[in-house]
Symmetry: C2
Subunit: 197 residues, 2 copies
DNA sequence: AGGGCTCTATGATCTGCCTCATAAAATTTT
DNA sequence: AAAATTTTATGAGGCAGATCATAGAGCCCT
């Protein structure tokens, strides 16, 4: 979200992480600002029974865990590399300096918060429907509008049913069945198992 | 969230609204910054079947609908006065001027966004448990920690079971039954039907 | 005090999501 | 190419939250 060169000039360090590596854990104190240069990071809660609640699947250029830097409280969810990734890390102090010096950057973060909050509102509204189909349709519509997780070339939604299950809080079998119903009613287009938006 | 005198000096107008009066509607374009001087405002989605999903029960001094001013998209939920209230309204332009001029105020908004996002993360994590008791316990713990909706004098949680239902997305009967189970297991203290935290 | 409303409460039933089991297909790794 | 892993798929059954019905308790309003 912040220009890489600027981050580096402020003393940010670049690190490569393997798939499955934990970048920060739920409950830990926020000490750094993190930005994903390349790769994919799951920002999730992991439960004892193996279930995962994925709050955000971080893509290239996005930051994650940033809001903990603003209220100073522990991380509410863990960040785990989903594939081999490259991550930039900047100390909290340097991050706050950057914001104080540059109103434009600060405003960009405010806009980012607004977008994220909008997503959460949409998500919780969709949950209220108590219908897997409506829930998934809203989610897919959101990603379509935002162009997130959508392949620019083939317009495929680059999310597996398992990932949609982890995001929506539904079980994978329920997602599979709901997607079939959505397809049957021509509410979504599925080609070779892949959603085309 | 912003000092009242400062808002008024920027041209904010004060308005009294009756209980039930709509301040802004889901889908409408954001034109103003709103701050509750006194009263109570429900920030909710209202569904055709009468169900309500309450995202936030706004209290004295809190602002609402503010994040739409940052991304410029329509409101995701409506704001309705829950009791007779007094609301301050500032034009979007003046609001952005204020932020640009005053880094401290801007930072306060960022912190507010962070707190709200933290709440949403907590909420969605709690939903993932698929257990009304865990969900409600987390909600009550959150309000306890934040001191929100808690009477300073008598330590009563000032939320009805119906309100908890609208917030949690559960049905009121489910909330009532879950609260009884929590009480039976000594996880919460209920006196005369009221939760004491 | 009385009327109207909301809130709290409880039982019965139903629906649908979760769970478990199994297996084929697709993808990744060796 | 083969093996291993993940993803997609389908069926059967259980369980719990939603739903519907009913009613008492508490509260606000004239």
């Amino acid at each position: 979200m912040i220009e890489v060169a600027l981050l580096l000039s402020k003393g940010a360090t670049c690190r490569k992480v393997e798939a499955g590596e934990v970048i920060f854990s739920e409950g830990a104190s926020p000490l750094y600002y993190y930005q994903l240069v390349e790769g994919r990071v799951r920002w999730s809660n992991f439960f004892d029974n193996g279930k995962e609640t994925m709050h955000w699947l971080v893509q290239d250029g996005e930051c994650f865990g940033e809001f903990a830097l603003f209220d100073g409280k522990p991380y509410v969810a863990s960040a785990v590399a989903d594939i081999p990734s490259t991550v930039l890390r900047l100390s909290a102090d340097a991050f706050h300096e950057l914001l104080a010096e540059n109103h434009e950057i600060h405003l960009e973060f405010s806009k980012g918060f607004a977008r994220h909050l909008r997503f959460k509102f949409m998500f919780i509204r969709a949950m209220g429907s108590n219908s897997p189909e409506k829930m998934l349709k809203e989610l897919i519509d959101y990603y379509t509008e935002e162009g997130k997780h959508v392949c620019k070339k083939c317009r495929r939604l680059m999310l597996t049913r398992q990932q949609l299950a982890n995001i929506s809080g539904l079980r994978v079998e329920t997602v599979i069945r709901a997607m079939k119903l959505l397809q049957r009613d021509n509410r979504i287009c599925i080609v070779k198992g892949k959603v085309i938006v």
